[in-house]
């Protein structure tokens, strides 16, 4: 056994640091106390690699004797310009220490803590090239916005797919944010390993491991929403408040470990009819069944009951006070709209390290979501979806220069709903990927085949290949990368079978929808630290998408036997669009005052073209994609105190869906967040002033984005 700790130069524990024996199946992470353990190690002299985000990596050789326990402690030096240590999203590719062939962003625990967010999407929204649109994530403009009806990004929790079984969307509040250790974001098509929905990228939420000993963590938050900046927009007499609390406790030994967390929060909301309550529990357990086999179980259950401000009030639909629109108010007719949403999952994973050259892993999961929407005056809607998943994969390192991964995966989604009907959808897949070092070059090649079936019908197949490579450009960490891959997204049950109404228009099913596909190409370069103060990463990307699913207004002849045809306009989802998304991602990381001041500037330029099948008019831009997206973050730390700022700009989107049917007002996004923190021993205080300038904007039609919100968070850890 190899064991030890990872600490900084002051002796403070570094949690989440990666420890690995390169070229083998053997790797682990440190716990909260900076302690690690690798149960099975080969005898002889081996190289051990330790790394953590924000620290310089350390390589050391150690002589190991069979049957003995060897202690190896690491001290890492702060290096803010150091690249993230891992090139993996989840544990699917266990390579270590090499740069990936596609762009990967990692949001470490420190960044999540500093931003004092309540749900993880609020932290993801600050990452380079990412934009959240009312809960729908866009990686380089991948998804757009279709009322939560799909996602072209796949969400994983510890490597387990967690997109909803009916709508394919993402529940960002599934997990308590306090349980998340790290967020990995893979940009570009990832279907060669991850399958459907990984058309535009993959997001993995890595939860905290269970450390040894007894640990308790309490987190309390409280805050207030800013009032409308204009008197004519006032909608209540008092100030809206929010608050909540989480508590988690864990106990672990070298063999077993378990953690239970529970929490609740309430928000008055920042608009009329915007109250919300949230309750959650979450658990995680580990069992070292043998020196070579580890079993992990995780689960969570969350309940949300919230009022729904469907759309802001337009003139005449509420007490408009002589205004063309009232962004804080809703139409009188939609007062009383609310939603009850419940979601939970349980996942079990087992990994056996057969030898340092071979390991296998198996998992099973069940993800359940349900919703009940009360929508006066028309009534209600409900849906229940169960998504069952299973996966088996093997990982081999035939030699230190090559990694091979093969696996198979199965997903079954079962849906019961009054607007989606009763349906099932299944996906069966096999995949393989190999990674080979040739001199200084490193090549990756892989492919996956997915078979899709709806309601037990015939299978259709989608093949998703991928090729990639990296080459160092200097000896200080500069890397050139290139990749090309095919992604796809199977239509969700909701997209195929939805039957509802939107603004008096009937939305009708289309069971014949086919998968969306896209080829993604990327060419990127990460420089070595320049002048010891900055590091640059730039990537050109190009996506050619086919058969994108979009809503279309169509005319249906309702009474074909009548003497006068009665053509009724309806909305139906179709595979209608060819699209191109090309652009440039640039990120600059600077540390002008090492250990004190760090800043990142990221900019994404998006050029999109959309060509509707059968439409001969000039191609237009894709809806809900801003051309320019800029994020600027800076942090200054002095001892126990730290202050920081995030500024985000997105240009006004050129096109929205269903223009003419909805209020088309839209403006650029210019949001400034300020934050401050203090940490002393087990106590931590965080102050966040989000949208501190109280800038009024909307990301999607008729929906006001959050106003100024001041939140104080206190954390006590034992």
């Amino acid at each position: 056994m190899l064991r030890g700790s990872v600490r900084d130069k002051d002796g403070a524990a570094i949690g989440g640091a990666s420890i690995a024996i390169p070229g083998t199946t053997l790797s682990t992470r440190t716990d909260l106390q900076g302690v690690y353990r690798i149960a099975v190690v080969p005898a002889g002299r081996v190289r051990v690699h330790a790394a953590a985000l924000g620290y310089g990596p350390v390589d050391t050789a150690v002589a190991l004797t069979g049957g003995d326990s060897t202690t190896l402690d690491f001290t890492l030096r702060s290096a803010p310009l150091e690249l993230p240590p891992l090139d993996v999203v989840s544990t699917k590719v266990a390579r270590f220490g090499d740069r990936p062939a596609t762009s990967v962003v990692q949001i470490p625990e420190r960044d999540i803590d500093q931003r004092a967010v309540n749900t993880v999407d609020e932290a993801v929204d600050k990452a380079a090239g990412i934009q959240m649109l009312n809960g729908q994530i866009n990686i380089r403009g991948s998804t757009g916005y279709i009322q939560g009806l799909n996602s072209r990004v796949l969400l994983l929790v510890d490597g387990v797919p967690m997109n909803q079984g009916d709508r394919g969307g993402i529940n960002w509040d599934l997990l308590p944010v306090d349980q998340i250790e790290r967020v990995d974001i893979l940009k570009g098509a990832g279907s060669s390993l991850y399958g459907s929905a990984a058309l535009g990228g993959v997001v993995n939420l890595a939860t905290r491991d269970v450390p040894e000993g007894v640990h308790v963590r309490v987190r309390l938050t409280g805050g207030a929403y800013g009032n409308p900046p204009e008197e004519v927009w006032r909608f209540r007499n008092g100030t809206g408040l929010q608050g909540g609390g989480d508590i988690s406790g864990s106990y672990g030994t070298t063999t077993f470990g378990g953690r239970l967390a529970a929490g609740a929060r309430h928000s008055d909301g920042y608009r009329e009819q915007d109250d919300g309550d949230h309750w959650q529990i979450a658990g995680r357990a580990r069992w070292q069944a043998s020196p070579r086999t580890r079993v992990d179980m995780s689960s969570a259950w969350a309940v949300d009951h919230y009022d729904v401000p469907l759309a802001w009030c337009r003139q005449g639909r509420c007490d408009d006070r002589g205004q063309a629109f009232q962004p804080f108010k809703v139409a009188t007719a939609s007062l009383g709209s609310w939603t009850d949403s419940r979601k939970g999952y349980i996942a079990v994973q087992a990994r056996t390290v057969v030898s340092e050259r071979f390991a296998w892993q198996a998992r099973g999961s069940w993800f359940r979501t349900s919703f009940f929407d009360q929508r006066p005056p028309n009534g209600s809607e409900f849906g229940i979806a169960n998504r069952f998943g299973a996966e088996l994969r093997a990982e081999a390192h035939p030699d230190s220069m090559r990694t091979v991964l093969v696996g198979s995966e199965m997903t079954l989604s079962d849906v019961t709903s009054d607007i989606f009907g009763n349906h099932s959808q299944s996906e069966y897949a096999a995949y393989g990927e190999s990674d080979q070092a040739v001199g200084v070059f490193r090549f990756t090649a892989g492919a996956r085949i997915d078979f899709l079936a709806v309601d037990g019908g015939s299978l259709s197949a989608v093949v998703s290949p991928r090729l990639g490579g990296t080459v160092p450009t200097d000896h200080k960490g500069g890397v050139l990368r290139a990749s090309i891959g095919r992604g796809f997204r199977a239509p969700t049950v909701a997209e195929r079978f939805v039957h509802t109404f939107f603004e008096a228009l009937e939305v009708i099913p289309n069971p014949n929808l086919g998968p969306e596909t896209a080829w993604s190409l990327e060419l990127g370069h990460t420089t070595a630290p320049l002048l010891h103060v900055l590091r640059l990463d730039a990537a050109l990307f190009w996506t050619e998408a086919r058969e994108l699913i979009e809503p279309r207004l169509i005319l249906i002849e309702e009474s074909p036997n009548d003497s006068i045809p009665n053509l009724v306009p309806k909305i139906q989802l179709h595979n209608v669009t060819r699209a191109r998304i090309a652009g440039l991602d640039v990120a600059i990381l600077t540390a002008p005052i090492p250990d004190r001041l760090t800043a990142t500037l990221s900019y994404t330029y998006l050029s999109t073209r959309r060509q509707v099948a059968g439409d001969t008019s000039a191609p237009g831009p894709l809806a809900f994609r801003p051309k320019h997206l800029l994020t600027l973050s800076a942090d200054y730390n002095l001892g126990a105190v730290g202050v920081g700022a995030d500024f985000r700009y997105a240009s006004r989107v050129e096109r929205i869906e269903l223009e003419g049917f909805v209020d088309s007002r839209r403006v650029p996004v210019k949001v400034l967040d300020l934050r401050a923190g203090w940490k002393q021993g087990p106590v931590e205080l965080r102050l966040l002033a989000a949208n501190v300038l109280n800038y009024m904007y909307n990301l999607v039609p008729q929906t006001l984005a959050p106003v100024r919100t001041v939140t104080l968070t206190a954390v006590w850890s034992h």
Binding site: E230, V232, W233, R314, Q315, G316, R317, D319, D320, G322, Q323, A324, F325, P327, E503, A504, L505, E506, L531, V533, L534, E558, D562, S563, I564, N566, L567, V568, P569, T590, P592, I593, L597, A599, L601, L632, A634, A645, F647, Y649, G660, F661, R665, V667, P668, K670, V671, L672, L693, Y695, M696, Y697, N698, L704
Partner: protein
């Protein structure tokens, strides 16, 4: 020296961001705002409001409709906004594409689900329309200028709840 330059650059970028965030967001917009592309005015209400009134909305037509199908399909906007009818007078505005509109009218609606078909006329009545200032028996023409000119204001007219008129008084509806 170099580090000082970087510090200045970082501070400068933050300051530029803050300055840039000070304007450009959503602002209050009076019903007859200068930025409106469309038309606006007031509606005066007369008569007793029917008990089954659901709402009153303003619609416009580039060409005067001749059939029920024209009435439904050529309406602008497709989903019009409502006008509050509980007071004796109400300001209104209608966002419209530039062009000359030959019929601007108030439509009364009773409860019922609209399907955007001629069948909708069973729930709708013509409640009043903008009239030509010279010949008040004829509808007035309103031009929404292109190129961002000021919206035509003062498009005022009367809604008389005591004389709501069916669509067939104006257009031909052969089958519904």
């Amino acid at each position: 020296m170099l580090r000082s330059l970087f510090r200045i650059a970082v501070v400068g970028l933050v300051a530029a961001g803050v300055a840039g965030a000070c304007d450009g967001g959503l602002d209050p917009e009076p019903i007859c705002a200068r930025s409106l592309v469309g038309l606006c005015g007031t509606v005066r209400f007369r008569g007793a409001v029917p008990a089954n009134t659901e709402n009153v909305f303003i619609a416009a037509y580039l060409a005067f409709p001749h059939t029920c199908t024209d009435l439904i399909n050529n309406r602008r906007p497709v989903i019009p906004g409502s006008v509050p009818f509980t007071d004796s007078i109400a300001p209104y505005s209608v966002p419209l594409s530039p062009g000359a509109y030959n019929w601007v009218l108030a439509v009364w609606k009773k409860p019922g689900t609209l399907t955007l078909t001629p069948a909708d006329t069973q729930y709708l009545r013509v409640a009043g329309y903008y009239r030509d200032r010279v010949d008040s028996t004829q509808p007035g023409v309103v031009t929404v200028p292109s190129g961002g000119g000021a919206a035509p204001g003062g498009i005022d007219f009367v809604v008389n709840f005591d004389s709501l008129r069916p669509a067939t008084d104006f257009v031909t509806c052969t089958a519904q």
